[in-house]
């Protein structure tokens, strides 16, 4: 009993501590592909440390929402790892609190609070960032729901652990068109939701700002919390992509300490593989215009529809 509780804590800690490393790896690889030196894979940790040592400056127009938003976002990102297979392939205590849709709900709650905080201070950039983020969410959400529906139809269950077991046990399902289309649809979503090209929402150029626009008023430790939360969101989405859909192997089966450590190492290896694919996309793709954002998402929507068709016919 104690061991499974420790494992559950280890899952949350793994997401908390390894999330900046994933961000660092992707950014460093990108720099190397572009033949630059790069700051090293540990730069996000140094950035966070620097931000935590600064003082908090609040805008005069801000209300209590401005304070609460980073805390809620950070807590939401620490709640989701309880629900999904990060290190072990069996459910741990409190894993049955919510299914895939529940996890999606908590992830969205974090984004919702940040949107509110962007509107709260009343600055022009915060408002424009929030409105754009909501537009992007409106475009991405139908696809996300369709992917979840597709997963549910594939595994006849909404629990990520069941999907993981099914894909490991039956190679025929793994290689079925329905599953491959789901992987492709989710990959597009992954690019959109983690601020990668073709929609790179965290640039510092005013015309393009989405993510940056929402959190422009923040400074110091609160900004660090927001940055950390967004890295954790990226880590969580990568975990769902790898451990539930793409690479369901190499998770701890018995739940020993060695197994959990090995699973964490394997996780970073899998993430590096996916990260390489993301780097290829980021290097070859150019930014889309604002009014063409719907194109990759429409393609992803289509892939999800095809996946659902595939599940109906297998």
């Amino acid at each position: 009993m104690t061991r499974v509780i420790l494992l559950q804590i280890a899952q949350v800690l793994a997401v908390l501590l390894l999330a900046p490393l994933l961000q660092g790896i992707i950014l460093q690889f990108e720099e190397r592909v572009q033949r630059a030196q790069g700051p090293g894979i540990f730069q996000p940790y140094r950035d966070l440390r620097k931000l935590f040592h600064k003082q908090i400056v609040l805008p005069e127009t801000a209300s209590w929402l401005f304070w609460i938003a980073p805390v809620v976002a950070f807590t939401a990102m620490m709640t989701v790892p309880i629900l999904i297979p990060v290190l072990t392939n069996f459910p741990l205590p409190l894993s049955d609190m919510g299914d895939i849709l529940g996890g999606g709900l908590i992830l969205t709650l974090g984004g919702f609070m940040i949107t509110l905080a962007g509107l709260d201070s009343g600055s022009a950039y915060g408002g424009i960032g929030s409105s754009r983020a909501v537009m992007l969410a409106i475009l991405a959400e139908p696809t996300l729901i369709l992917v979840f529906v597709g997963i549910t139809l594939l595994a006849k269950a909404m629990l990520p652990f069941v999907v993981n077991h099914l894909l490991v046990a039956q190679p025929a399902v793994y290689w079925s068109p329905a599953h491959l289309f789901l992987v492709a649809a989710f990959f597009v979503l992954l690019l959109v939701e983690t601020d990668r090209l073709p929609i790179h929402s965290s640039t510092h150029v005013e015309v393009y700002m989405i993510e940056e626009g929402r959190i422009l008023e923040y400074a110091g430790p609160l900004l660090a919390l927001l940055r950390w939360a967004s890295m954790m969101k990226q880590f969580i989405l990568y975990t769902i992509f790898c451990n539930v859909l793409l690479l369901p192997w190499a998770l701890s089966i018995e739940g020993t300490a060695i197994g959990a450590l090995g699973a964490a190492a394997a996780l970073m290896f899998k993430f590096t593989l996916v990260g390489c694919a993301v780097v290829v996309v980021e290097t070859t793709q150019s930014r889309l215009r604002f009014y063409r954002y719907q194109e990759p998402l429409a393609a992803s929507f289509l892939l999800a529809v095809l996946a659902i068709i595939g599940t109906q016919l297998s």
Binding site: E295, L297, F301, G310
Partner: protein
Amino acid sequence: MLVAHLSPLAASLFSLIAIASLLLAFVMLGSRWLRHYLYAFALESWLIAALSAAVGYYGQYPELYLIAILTAVFRGCLLPYLLLRIVRRLNVARELHVVVQASSSLVIGAFAVVFALVVATHIGDTLGLGGTVVVLALTVMLSMKLIGFLMLTVRHEAISQILGLLVLENGIFLGSQILVPGMPLLLEIVILFDLLIIVACFGLLVQYLISHVGTTSSLKLRRLVG
């Protein structure tokens, strides 16, 4: 009927090829560069040739190998080459005036696929073949036809229109390969030559359009000229 008694491996191979060609039809629907249409069409034809060969292998129809080779040569090489020559001569690289944006047409296409699925499921249930690869073949066939119609409707470049026609025809051919694989060889060859003639006629028509109207967009054809 061959498809009702397939081994699971063959069924999954057929469904993979069918869905991949449907995906290529969507690539054609979603891209705006004429050259990409052509490549997608060529690839789709190669997939259909592979499907013919696979059906011939699993169903013991030796003549289907010949059809596979003919499909690959005619639809996969000759037709794209002829169209590529027309595109080069035209100096038209992309659709300039789209009626429906690429992303919207993708979503409309997705709804067309859902409609095709409903119809195909209904037909499959009526025939007592629900849940087999028959339904998939019918779905892919119907949705490729609908996508072909969609391309004919929303695109205005002459080349896109001929490609829409060819996608439509590819869909019918794909469906017939899976559903009635024993179709006489002569019919298939006649269809292939028909296609060749269609493309040749279209080449002439495009030449005529350029010399008399000065454009290749059907949007400009607003009045009848005697």
